[in-house]
Symmetry: D2
Subunit: 371 residues, 4 copies
Amino acid sequence: MPNSFGKLFSVTTWGESHGPAVGAVVDGCPPRLPLDAAEIQAELDRRRPGQSDIVTPRKEEDKVEILSGLFEGRTTGAPISLLVRNTDQRPGAYDEMREKFRPSHADFAYQAKYGFRDHRGGGRSSARETIGRVAAGAIAKKILALGGAAQNGSAVEVRAFVTQVHTIAVPEGALEKLPKLAEVEANAVRCPHAATAEKMIERIKKVRADGDSVGGVIECRLHGVPPGLGEPVFDRLEADLAKAMLSLPATKGFEIGSGFAGTRLRGSEHNDLLVPRGGQVRTTTNRSGGTLGGISNGEEIVFRVAFKPTATILQPQKTVDVHGKATELIGRGRHDPCVLPRAVPIVEAMAALVLVDHWLRHAAQNRVFKF
Amino acid sequence: MPNSFGKLFSVTTWGESHGPAVGAVVDGCPPRLPLDAAEIQAELDRRRPGQSDIVTPRKEEDKVEILSGLFEGRTTGAPISLLVRNTDQRPGAYDEMREKFRPSHADFAYQAKYGFRDHRGGGRSSARETIGRVAAGAIAKKILALGGAAQNGSAVEVRAFVTQVHTIAVPEGALEKLPKLAEVEANAVRCPHAATAEKMIERIKKVRADGDSVGGVIECRLHGVPPGLGEPVFDRLEADLAKAMLSLPATKGFEIGSGFAGTRLRGSEHNDLLVPRGGQVRTTTNRSGGTLGGISNGEEIVFRVAFKPTATILQPQKTVDVHGKATELIGRGRHDPCVLPRAVPIVEAMAALVLVDHWLRHAAQNRVFKF
Amino acid sequence: MPNSFGKLFSVTTWGESHGPAVGAVVDGCPPRLPLDAAEIQAELDRRRPGQSDIVTPRKEEDKVEILSGLFEGRTTGAPISLLVRNTDQRPGAYDEMREKFRPSHADFAYQAKYGFRDHRGGGRSSARETIGRVAAGAIAKKILALGGAAQNGSAVEVRAFVTQVHTIAVPEGALEKLPKLAEVEANAVRCPHAATAEKMIERIKKVRADGDSVGGVIECRLHGVPPGLGEPVFDRLEADLAKAMLSLPATKGFEIGSGFAGTRLRGSEHNDLLVPRGGQVRTTTNRSGGTLGGISNGEEIVFRVAFKPTATILQPQKTVDVHGKATELIGRGRHDPCVLPRAVPIVEAMAALVLVDHWLRHAAQNRVFKF
Amino acid sequence: MPNSFGKLFSVTTWGESHGPAVGAVVDGCPPRLPLDAAEIQAELDRRRPGQSDIVTPRKEEDKVEILSGLFEGRTTGAPISLLVRNTDQRPGAYDEMREKFRPSHADFAYQAKYGFRDHRGGGRSSARETIGRVAAGAIAKKILALGGAAQNGSAVEVRAFVTQVHTIAVPEGALEKLPKLAEVEANAVRCPHAATAEKMIERIKKVRADGDSVGGVIECRLHGVPPGLGEPVFDRLEADLAKAMLSLPATKGFEIGSGFAGTRLRGSEHNDLLVPRGGQVRTTTNRSGGTLGGISNGEEIVFRVAFKPTATILQPQKTVDVHGKATELIGRGRHDPCVLPRAVPIVEAMAALVLVDHWLRHAAQNRVFKF
């Protein structure tokens, strides 16, 4: 089931960019969770097109409808079906793509795989597919907020934000404390470092004016995660986070804790020493990024995701058509010059899905039978 | 099944560092594949301790026994059980770890998760677990070599090598052509750039003399992969590669193609333009790293994996004991000052497992029924 | 994912009896299959309420909408989302069930499991859930018809029919030849033996007049299945068929080939002798029912499913309320006095889903790489 | 992974009848369970050949070795690898089967599927494969005994026994109370009704003398199962039990509760009325067999499994050889004239595996997060 993610708490997404609708089915949601369409809508609004002047102007309300799994405001344990109708389809805008493969898009790969493709806006490979992820992730976040609190003394927070756009990055060490949601949402680019955010926005506007695009880096932190989540040896927590992130459109890299930079340290510099603190075993540093051996160790989980520059640019590019002939193509359609601002809630959604799934798996294996 | 990997071609590993044995069960191997224990042994010998003067001196022959799934030198389609007895166990050497958590090892995380742990040499979290992966990967490589050739006109090659150790890296652009296996195996550090390899070996010896350790980066290339492998949307080829790599001990990052560096380019610089070449649709550059939309596009698949410095160092470190008391620990046991030379065949094994699994999945979905 | 079925060709169903809609997502459908909503509708019409005077009069058109996975009349390989709105909801009719558990219904079991339930018409445990299965099964049938023919020389036929209602059964040996679809559809009870069908209909009308209900047996035959489908050792073809059938509401038993009756024969009477016929290895009898060792052997696959009498009866019954107090309940709502006529397309759908899934799995493992 | 069973508590079996060994890997075993090889051995001894004068005389000790997952007498949460060496191999005895397909055995089906087969004693299709199941089931039983007691107030008992051999059956109603293990083990045929057991043994000896074989029925009861286990809609408890049973060699049918006989009752006769008893919701009868809507309802789970007569008989039979020529074959090798006595612990093992898996799944979904 390549369109499903998660073992115990799972999401299946479906839908194409210019088909009638997109959606998701969430299976394995615990019963009795209070849930409201408005809570899901709030997250969808964070990824919606047209939300600011630095994202695509495609006009979609992305209004979610809950079709099952709820009764009198609470989940029943049955699958939750989520539906968002596509409204602003302009399939005609894509007529040229029927014949020509867009460079660095999935067009040719889909053609090679399936021998047939829905060319309209990338069809299934469109980032509209992530609507289902964000909707499912909103439910996961709610579970973490309520359920984490009940089990854990404090809610688990899932916080992503932009730390780099093109060559502009938040200064090292400037975001040691977990940024608040309000700080992230304070600007259109979702970078909680205000001065940097301003420069990022300026840069995005500049490249858009050039008919060009940029990428960048999103950092995500999972705060309040108890120790013990993650299943050795293949379903390590960081392995499932890596898979979740690399399953997103436009991602090219994942690192946890010290990541690639940590490879330049010696062990004596890199190791996180253990100390007793508040009756718990804690570390003095967090180069591990919150997991060891694939299992959470009670520290903040910190990872970063690399996003490439948007493949669609409004400049002529060399390409090949479906008959194998060389040709040229100029990007059309309504696209984001930089996907990162809208990718923030998507990264959070995937992280929340991984976390809830692992929480359930951990508890099943280690807490049900007491020996 | 957290100790299993793969949907159609799967491996399940089992075993602890100082238990009686380690092993693996491979399920889903196609029938009639010619297979010999010596072929598996050859790969195990590449990850064996004691193979050179820059790796751990633990004395293990790592002799593999095939217990099932073979008949008269060919696979039958039944599961293949692979067994390697542990011989050089020195559990007494780990008595101190029964009481004390080793910094940046999985000891505390396992204790937090299971409330109980086999402390001897890390138990299940030991890198000896990867023996099963390498053995299974040897079968996957054979399938790719024979089967890839039959389907594809040329064998699929899976080639990993060390590109960075601590601060020493292969000069940019120095390894454009796929290195030959012999070039990789030409030195103890498995870096096909001879001059750099020499410096890396020197550095590893230096840090070992200091009782310290170093990490680095392994690059892996999959050559000859046909277009079409990879399953949108969650089981993207790069997503499963990322999961495979982050499931390895000591890994902190994964990037494909342009990776993190690519985030500093504009779309107009980053896009891979398409051209017809040899009757095929090819790209002029390969910043995508061989996949688009999660599907192979026929170009070389190129990814890199970050390994942290070995956590065990022969220096006193602050830590906590199982009673929550602050204490100190000096590393013992026989360890690698740098895991990368022995990790090369492990990275190849995981990449081969991902590739065979996706090849089978792709063919099942797209080639069985012809419409 | 308890609401999903199938490994490579899978269906996920969702929806409650009196919620806004029911539906399914089909993942793993091969690309380029010609598909039309009308083909799915035709199967749904066979299970629709109100189709004859011996089934429930609930007025539902069960109009299916295809929301994704199709482009210009062909499947794309992307998930196919299928939606059927509920229209004739009368939730008020179920007010009494909010407080009282219906005997031999799932009410108490759901309450015990989830601590909460949608009591309206059984919620998720309603047989309306099978709409998604029938819709998905229609796609599987089309694949078998077209794809089976292409691979196999002749289409694979999936044919279920009623062989017993209450104490009325088709005479032994009367249906040796595979009944035609038209023969099955020739009467309201879907028994291709006309004389028996007449008696069955009479019996159903009689018990309905008594406010009572009856069960029976459905036989299903899979004709034209090539040898080789089925995966030893756990995913045997008959094991997955058994699971599929016991996952249906109201089923109490499954048998293949000689079944329970075969236990009264000696081996010398029971064994199917092998003979060469038409260049193939065939059997003289078919007590095995078309599989051996979990793998199809090229003979007709024949199995039977036992359905209990409908739990809802229009007579007062002793029961317990949600407060644990003894009470009494009289069945209400619009129910089938006998579920078998409408269960015929459901049994076919599940059988077709199993078959397509196993066909893909078999081909992946045994046909992709040639050694 | 066709050789694996179970989602959270899983077993993977491997091995051929005349290969070096058979075994299993258990993944997902909760940590800290006290476990001893002798406990597993005790169950293996119940299925061992040569245990009485009505079973095969093949001389196998079936001595189990635990290779991983245990530390100081307790499970660690890591996979448990179980190994049994084959000792009494007589591959030469099977030379004729290399060329000839045995009637009603899997020989031809394996050849058709894989194009290649290990003909020695059926290879993978041999019932020796069930050794791994019984070993894994012994662990599951221990979990149910200890863990069930801790959660439930009383241990969960898994009890199978023979109720029919050929035409000899336990009189109806003679085994209303759960038979004790000692009563089952009191005779060689494992029928707790002593007078019937005597006749069964006599019949088995008679057919063996004739060079023939017989089948029969095993009943299994799961006593003390709490309400709530089982996952709608596809992973119903009875669906997974049915799959488990039909995955066993020689099985032809499964029924739960009233089964096929229940199809001859009216709803008013068949429904299990609910009553309050001991502070719990209970039923006055148990025609449902302990599950409703796929979920356990707190009553005893009762199911029956049909086994065909052993396919190997010591009489000449018509068959076909690998070249498609008609020929004749006389059974050789050492076989059971009736598999049922040795199948009793196998049925129990599979039932225990299903139950533990569903217990973990239920708890994960419904007990981890409290809303």
